[in-house]
Amino acid sequence: MNEPEHISRCRYQVEETKDGGLTLHLKGQISASNAAHMIKILENALTPQAGGSVVVDLSEVAHLDDYGVLVLSEIKLRALKEKADFRLQNISDKINKTLSMYDFDTLGKVDRLPGSPKRFSLFTRLGEATIRQASEVKYMVSFLGSVCFALLHVCLHPRSLRRDDMYTCMQKTGVDALPIVGLISFLMGLIMAFMSSVQLQQFGANIYVASLVSLAMTRELGPIMTAIIVAGRSGSAFAAEIGTMKISEEVDALFTMGFDPTRFLVTPKIIASVIVVPLLTIFSDLFAIMGGLIVGVFTLDLTANAYITQTLKTLDLFDVMLGFFKSAVFALLISWIGCLRGFRVRGGAASVGEATTSAVVSGIFLIVFFNSIFSVILRYWE
């Protein structure tokens, strides 16, 4: 029978002795490639009897590494389990040294893999999670305070703002987002007009598509969609940038040079976002209206003039201003949470990844949450 090459590197022979014991003769080399196989074979081949003995003869084993030691220890455990004696014989000096290096004599059963965490009860884990959450909330409140003070400082000392950083941020958060915001808004306007026209056509009320698109976008969807895109693009970027700076000690360096990391890193980002996101929102409103216009003109027999007139008739300055104001608030929230997650990074790359994800998810949550608050307020105001 042809054995595969790597198995044939080690051969074994089991010999039964007169007093009910077993002697296992090993020959050759046990290594990473055949250790698992050897353990399986030997487990079946060796059937030690209680009270008997298992002797492993290593006279023909020239070289033993830790995989070999592993195999021997599995045999030893098997023997001890069956209450048989275990002994090694004909060990060369080199093998003896190897065995003592791995502390073979005291190798026992491993009751838990090193590194695997102890399993705590559900109650304990719940408690720990609550404590962790509480300290997160505490940090959030403290960071909110720092940010408020930093913004106040900039209002009182406008020259202290890092303008170049702010301009760079405005470009990345605003200008670079124009294509994607434009595209998504255009498509949204298109789809809204298309979907609503199916119903409105039945009543010959095609013209109201213009009203629908413009109102929905300026009051609700424009601010929300733009803010979500910005959260994904820029909220994550802030978290990643600050998080990476944290792990490379750049934030510490800023502190020891006498700079306040919040004033230095966060203020330019927040101000840039609050300036740029409302402008993006207006841009998004325009593109959506254009999308609706395309549908209106090409599938609903509206003239461009009629569509635009109806849009202007429906829209109030209040609607546009509302959208503007909402997006400013969203910008504040996105940049705040993005920077916060960045500062919370501790450790390495995985932590930065978590912070980035969390910045986006939390940002979206805050956007939707605050939008609901605005809706409730408006309900009772108008």
Binding site: T244, E250, A253, M257, G258, F259
Partner: protein, 260 residues
């Protein structure tokens, strides 16, 4: 002759969550000396450094740096002190989005009212001192590890502070660069009289530059030796101190403390 004490630490206790890193340590650093904090891995030397530069508030105890008590401080009160100290972090901690020149200029712009031209000249001088004169417009990602450290040192020295702190300056450097950095440290200390506090465990550097050392120990959570490193190497009775300075293997981690 009474030498001026620039750093005084008294009964400092540092804890991280439930674990005590070191327990009531006290020492002083005198003006103009090169003072090294050393010890085995995990003994808390980086933690001690972070306490001295104000990054971590102590659990208890007092720390005075350049006359200011930093153990109980409010945010913003440390600004004056921070202009008197410079820190070289292990990887340089240069701001990645700025060139070397912009990095070195940062503290100068913030704390002096020099014109942009003057600052540029000053920055060029400082980078040239570190042999980085030609790299002023490079970004940190474009230079080697040794160069990042030298640039970090140039920045730490931007305002010619009275005290410089070094966190493992020789880590990751080849022997030649490490020796050059050691010479630079000695040169700066002799020329400007800057007090230097270095956290390291590189023996060669310690014997070359240190005037005085303290050795922290993980097991006793305190200082187990203090003094001239060459003297400690040859005359210390403490087993761990002898092992450390003579670079002897010993499986220290597993052995219980037998002598103090």
């Amino acid at each position: 002759m009474q030498r001026e004490r620039v750093i005084e630490v008294k009964d400092l206790v540092a804890r991280y969550e439930e674990e005590t890193i070191f327990d009531r340590i006290s020492f002083e650093v005198y003006a103009g000396e090169i003072f090294v904090v050393l010890g085995g891995s995990g003994c808390g030397k980086s933690t001690l450094l972070k306490h001295l530069i104000g990054l971590i508030p102590p659990f208890s105890g007092k720390i005075r740096v350049a006359g200011t008590d930093i153990s109980r401080h409010q945010e913003g009160q440390l600004d004056d002190l921070l202009t008197q100290i410079g820190v070289l972090y292990q990887s340089g901690a240069l701001l990645g989005s700025m060139t070397l020149a912009e990095n070195v200029a940062l503290p100068i712009c913030e704390y002096t009212s020099l014109t942009k031209d003057s600052i540029q000249k000053l920055v060029k001088m400082k980078l040239t001192l570190m042999n980085l004169g030609d790299y002023a417009d490079y970004l940190p990602s474009q230079i080697s590890g040794g160069m990042k450290k030298r640039a970090g040192l140039a920045r730490a020295m931007a305002l010619n502070p009275q005290i410089l702190f070094f966190d493992e300056p020789s880590a990751g450097l080849d022997p030649v660069t490490a020796a050059e950095l050691d010479n630079l440290i000695i040169h700066l200390n002799e020329t400007f009289g800057t007090t230097m506090v270095i956290v390291t465990h590189e023996l060669e550097s310690i014997f070359t530059v240190a005037h005085r050392v303290i050795m922290l120990d993980k097991n006793t959570k305190g200082i187990i030796a203090e003094g001239d490193p060459r003297y400690l190497r040859d005359h210390s009775q403490n087993r761990f101190v002898k092992q450390f300075f003579n670079r002897l293997a010993g499986g220290v981690e597993n052995l219980p403390v037998q002598e103090a």
